[in-house]
Each structure stands twice: as structure tokens, then as C-alpha cells.
Amino acid sequence: MAGSDDARVAEALDRLLTDHPPADTPHQDFWGAQFDAGLAWVQFPEGRGGLGVNPRFQAVVNDAIVDAGGSISNRRNNVLGIGMGAPVLVTHASEEHQDRLLRPMFTCEEIWCQLFSEPGAGSDLAGLATSAVEEDGTWIVNGQKVWTTLAHIAKWGLLVTRTDPDVPKHAGMTYFLLDMEAEGVDVRPLYQITGEAEFNEVYLDDVRIPDEHRIGEVGEGWSVAMTTLSNERVAIGSNIPERGDGMVKHAVAAWQEHGGDDPVARDTLTKFWIEYEAMRLTSIRANANRKAGNPGPEGSTGKLHWADLNKAVTEFGMDVKGAAGMLYPKGYEFTAPEASGTARDESLEQLYLRARANSIEGGTSEIMKNILGERVLGLPGEPRVDKNIPWKDVPRG
């Protein structure tokens, strides 16, 4: 069986690369052809961008495309759609929605965003308060979402709401597709420590959502959201930097320009370089084990490890610059960039500030350690005070 899947993937891949040489095909056209070939999400059904095979083949496909000079940047540029929205759609949405939405998502014609976090519901996502009330087949939504990347350019949003405040928090949520162009959707830039606004606040004021845009049953929003989040890791995927690349590169550059002959800073720099390389090797090992169908804990520690180290190495790099470390040459500009700060290749100064969020966004380091401790190491959870009581009675603030 696996053998025949191997062959099917290889054949489809071969045909795709032959018929649409990636180096010579416009990205969007290529991604459309990739979708049609069933190589967008290989584990999806045929006709929905997949071949119905083991998802580990996706890494093979992606590597082959990159090797052939193609791009897989759609996965990053539309990460909330391709990485998280697609599995939700293919699992929970109607045939019509799947037909309508998956392809333009994969080609990046339609950008997606995720409307989960709220000012009062960060780590505790299931505590969210945005209400949706049904009136004659239409849902009226009110509330505020935050930390929504790409909301200012997104066509679609993945929205979780509270539809029943009288049941325990995980039981009273419902999941929707939100047309970001609908009336009452107000996207405002959220300026951050760098003066840029990668993120947005989204205010929802009597926004009307047709019931057909509901995903999953009423009250099932949490399990649908979990489909989304459990795909996050796959979405973040297998992008391995080159040796010495990433934030440590900027510290090395600072050292080369300003380090002089300070042996203490030299040793610290080398220590950072070593730990970055050990992490990078871990990513390579994790990918190899995933490809071999044998994933282990090495695949789960990266987020935490990079976050800690990114903060520390940029802090160090600024010190190495000496007096120049007191400067922020690009100035605080209050702009909204197209891509996320960690994806771009910016100055050390900007990365230094931007890295502060690495241990907060996408799950704080505290939550990551809970997950590693409980799910990977098997340690017991903490006593919970917010279970089995109505959401409206849970202390919030």
C-alpha cells in the first residue's frame, strides 16, 4: 500500500514539475497546478488539493519543488489559511465551501486570518467572550478580537464565538467563516514595541453571518478550533535555516563590526552560535524522524527554544554594539508591514525588539512548557478551577 502511494506521489510530482517547470511558471499559476495535481495537501481527498495519502509525503513534495527552483512561500504568506483553515474546511465545511474556497486559498488569491484571541482570552482561548446570537437563520456577532495577523488584507476570517454563556466554557462556543468585507467588521492596526503594526484589533459590531457560514454544529466551536490548532505545528513545518543564519547572524555581524578583541563577548557569541546550531540540527533530526514516520519529542521543543534564544542573542548583540546599541536607526514609523517580523530579514535593532514577542505569540513560553511537561513528558496537570461551571461564572479579567 505504502509502496503504491509512494509511486502515486512520485508520478504526480514528476508530471507537475515537467508540465509546469517551477522556475519558469508564475508562482500563482504553479500553485494552482499544484492544487489540481493533488499536491497542495497530499493527505486531502482527490479534487480537494490532495491524493488521500500519508501527510508525511508533503515534505517530500515541498522539498522537490524548492529543489526545482519553485516557491512554497504561499504556505507562509497565507499560513492561517493553508496551515489552519484548510484542515478545518476539509473536515467540517460543506462541499460547496470546499470547492469555492480551497483553491484560491492555496494560490493566495484570498488571504485568510484567524479571529480567536481576545483581550480577555489570550492563553485561555476557551475563555473568549465575543457573542453570537441567532436571529432567523442569521447570527449577530459582537465583540473584539486581537492579535489577528493579516486581518487588514484578509478576505476570510476563521472566527470562534460564544453562543451559550450558561454552559462550561468549552461547551458554549460556535465556529464561523467570517467575510472580512462584511458590514460591522472594523480592522484597526495594533502598534507594537517596534512601532509597526503586524497585528490588528478587529472590532465586530452587529456583524451578520449567515448560518451557512457556520462550521460545525452550534456549541462545537471548541473542537473545530482544535482541528485548526492541531494543524499549527504541521503548518509551521519544516523550514530549516542555513547554518549560522537567523538572529545569530546579526549578532555575528555586530561582533565583526563592534566586537574588537573582547574575549568575553567572543565566548558568549560562540555559545549562542553553538546553541543555534544544536537547535537547527534538532529541526533537521525532527524532520528526518517525521519523514521516517517516527516523530519524537525533538519535534516539539523548537518553539520554546528559539523563543528563548532569539531574545537572548539579540539582547547580547545590542550590547556588543556598545554605544550604538542605544540607537534605533530606522526610527519608529508606525506602519503596517505585509509580512510578519520574524519572517523578514531586518536589522538587529528591530529583531531585538521584535523577538520580545517570540515567547508570547503562538502560545506563550509558559503555555509551551505546560504542553511539553504534560503532553510530552506525561506530568500531571494543575488543579482546574474553571471546569464544570458555567462560563459566565468563571472569574475573568
Binding site: P119, G122, W147, I193, E315, D319
Partner: protein, 362 residues
């Protein structure tokens, strides 16, 4: 450096306590977050009316003798004021004029210096000092100076700039009028403390003191130690902010400060902040003594340790706040940037430690 000779005395006088309360109250009125944000977005970075109030309260010349118009107190009192200012991120050219320039002038004294001290005390003029020899390249021909000076605190708004220059085989302290130099604002990380690059092209320079050996070392030591006291104020403030948020903010039905991850991090911060206070308080007291050895030791301890502690506390404060701590609208980043800038303003902690290691014979 026999231990028995070293005076370690943490006594706080009633006068110091009153001063602390006075400053704290004034800052509460004048340096709330909104006001800091208004001022940091201006090029000058401070308000002249508030400067006049500081002068009126006597806060511009605490260690200056009474006969020159000062308060006749000591650097210890300056440390108290700095700590309170650090808590509120006061935007004002106080460190440059009331600390750095004042320390330089007090080191040399003499008629010219005394006159300027009087003017500074009264708030009639503001001075600064080119305090980074590693970023200062000026030559003095006996009447004018030519060259550049970098990282000059409040270099754009100072009325007069003090420079230590080579002169007659020694060091002279000279003063250049703001009108005679070109000041370019630097794009600072920490918007609440302005810095400038200064250019001098045959600028007329008044000799404040022709025999000013050690003036930069003294002024930088004073500046760094006062800044260490400012930093413990900032560190204390971010700790209190974190604690308050830890009590108020709830996730999973519990105050987040009830989780050990946050609680223990704050306990560690407390531990370091208390030690940093001890280091800062002792160091600033040595500035009022004649014990050069102990001043060296205590300064190196305070400057290197408080810089690190503030940086760590301010970074942890962002993390303790989660997403909101990373936004422009929350003050956490202002303290974070002030901490980094303070850590680097008078040279890196490594440099201060190296001086101590030399002294200790390591």
C-alpha cells in the same frame, strides 16, 4: 582596601525621606504615562515650564554648595531623586545638566565653573557633557574647538556643552555655547532620553578649568552611579506593575500571578531588585566620601549589576504581561528601552567589571 576601613551606612535621613516624597508627588502630577508619551514625541523631549519647577524645588543643584545657589546636600540625595525619576521615566535633561555637567563643574570649581553652577542651579541655563571619550574627537587650540562628540545626552537642547580636551600636556575643561556648534539628534532606541551627535568647527570655547585632570572619570562615575539609582527605581516600578497585573489578570479562572511560572519569576526579580538597591544606595553614598578605592569598587558593583537587573526585570515585565506587554500603548516597552539604553550609556557592564577585577587583583 581593608574591609574594616570601608564605611557602609544605609541610614536614611528624614530629610532624604521628605525629598523622596516631594519628588514622588511632583512626578505623580507631571510624569504620568500620557505626559511621558507627549514629551518623548517632541524633538526637545522635555518641557521648559516643568524645568523651571524643578529649579524652584531645588532639584537641579542638590549637591551644589549653598553659596552658589545649590541645596548644599550630597550625591546621596541626588540618588534618591534619580530613583524616583526612574520609576516615572521623567523626560527632562536632568541627568545631563544636574548630574553630568554639575559633577564635572564641581570637580574643577573656580570662578567660571561656579558662575555656571549658579546658572544651572537657577534653571537659567542647561549644560551637558561630552562624556564618552571613545566617541569624542576634538582638538582645542587655546580658544576654539574642532571635531565631533557622539552620544551626548540632551546635546540638542543644552545651552552649553562641556568638553574635556587635551591642553598643555594635561586636560582642560572647556565650554562651548550651543549657538556655536551643530547638534544632530540621534535616532535613539529610548525616546525618553534624547542624545545627539555634535560637530564643532572652530567653535569658540571658554576655558572653565585649565587643570581638569580626571574630570571625565569623575563625572562618568557620578553619572553612572546616579543612573544605577535611577535604574533600581525603574526595576522596582516594573516589578510592581507585574505584580499588579498578576493580581488583576485572570486566565483559566485564576489570577495569573497565582501560577508559579509568574510568581517565581517575580520572586526572582524581587531578589535581584533588593540586591541592586543595596548596591546602588551604597555606591551613591561613596560619592560623598573621599574614599577613592571604595568609590571604584562600589561603582563597579552598582553600575554593572543594576544595569543587568533592570534589563532583566524590564524584559520579564513584558513577558509577565503577555500580548499587551508587547504593544506600543502599554508602558512596558518604554521601561525596556530605558533599561537597555541605561545599561550602555556609560560603557558596558563588562568594562566596569574589568576595572573591578584589576582593582581586586583577579
Amino acid at each position: 582596601m581593608a574591609e574594616t576601613d570601608v564605611v557602609i551606612d544605609f541610614t536614611q535621613t528624614d530629610e532624604q525621606q521628605m525629598l523622596r516624597e516631594l519628588v514622588s508627588k511632583w512626578l505623580g502630577d507631571r510624569s504620568e504615562s500620557e505626559r511621558v508619551r507627549e514629551l518623548m514625541d517632541t524633538e526637545d523631549g522635555f518641557d521648559t515650564a516643568e524645568w523651571a519647577e524643578l529649579a524652584e524645588m531645588g532639584l537641579l543643584a542638590l549637591p551644589v554648595p549653598g553659596e552658589l545657589g545649590g541645596a548644599g546636600m550630597g550625591w546621596t540625595e541626588v540618588g534618591v531623586v534619580a530613583e524616583e525619576m526612574g520609576r516615572r521615566l521623567l523626560c527632562a535633561p536632568w541627568l545631563s545638566s544636574a548630574v553630568l555637567a554639575t559633577a564635572a563643574l564641581l570637580h574643577v570649581r573656580g570662578d567660571v565653573a561656579d558662575e555656571l553652577l549658579g546658572q544651572l542651579a537657577a534653571g537659567e541655563r542647561r549644560a551637558t557633557l561630552a562624556h564618552r571619550p571613545d566617541h569624542t574627537e576634538v582638538t582645542f587650540d587655546g580658544s576654539t574647538v574642532t571635531g565631533t562628540a557622539g552620544f551626548v545626552v540632551d546635546g540638542v537642547t543644552a545651552d552649553v556643552v562641556l568638553l574635556a580636551v587635551d591642553h598643555d600636556g594635561g586636560t582642560a575643561l572647556v565650554a562651548v555655547d550651543a549657538a556655536d556648534l551643530t547638534a544632530t539628534p540621534l535616532p535613539v532606541l529610548d525616546l525618553t532620553r534624547k542624545q545627539a551627535e555634535l560637530a564643532f568647527d572652530g567653535a569658540p570655547a571658554t576655558v572653565v578649568a585649565s587643570d581638569a585632570d580626571g574630570v571625565l572619570e569623575r563625572a562618568a562615575t557620578v553619572g553612572a552611579v546616579v543612573l544605577a539609582n535611577e535604574s533600581v527605581g525603574g526595576a522596582q516600578q516594573v516589578l510592581e506593575t507585574s505584580v499588579q497585573y498578576g493580581r488583576d489578570r485572570k486566565q483559566f479562572g485564576r489570577a495569573i500571578g497565582s501560577y508559579q511560572a509568574l510568581k517565581h519569576r517575580m520572586a526572582d526579580t524581587l531578589k535581584h531588585v533588593e540586591a541592586a538597591k543595596s548596591a546602588a544606595y551604597h555606591a551613591v553614598r561613596t560619592l560623598d566620601t573621599d574614599d577613592a578605592d571604595e568609590t571604584l569598587v562600589a561603582s563597579a558593583i552598582a553600575v554593572s549589576y543594576c544595569g543587568q537587573v533592570y534589563e532583566q526585570a524590564a524584559g520579564d515585565n513584558i513577558q509577565n504581561h503577555g500580548g499587551i506587554g508587547f504593544t506600543w500603548e502599554h508602558d512596558a516597552h518604554l521601561y525596556f528601552k530605558r533599561a537597555k539604553s541605561s545599561k550602555l550609556l556609560f560603557g558596558s557592564p563588562t568594562t566596569w567589571r574589568a576595572a573591578l577585577a584589576d582593582h581586586l587583583g583577579f
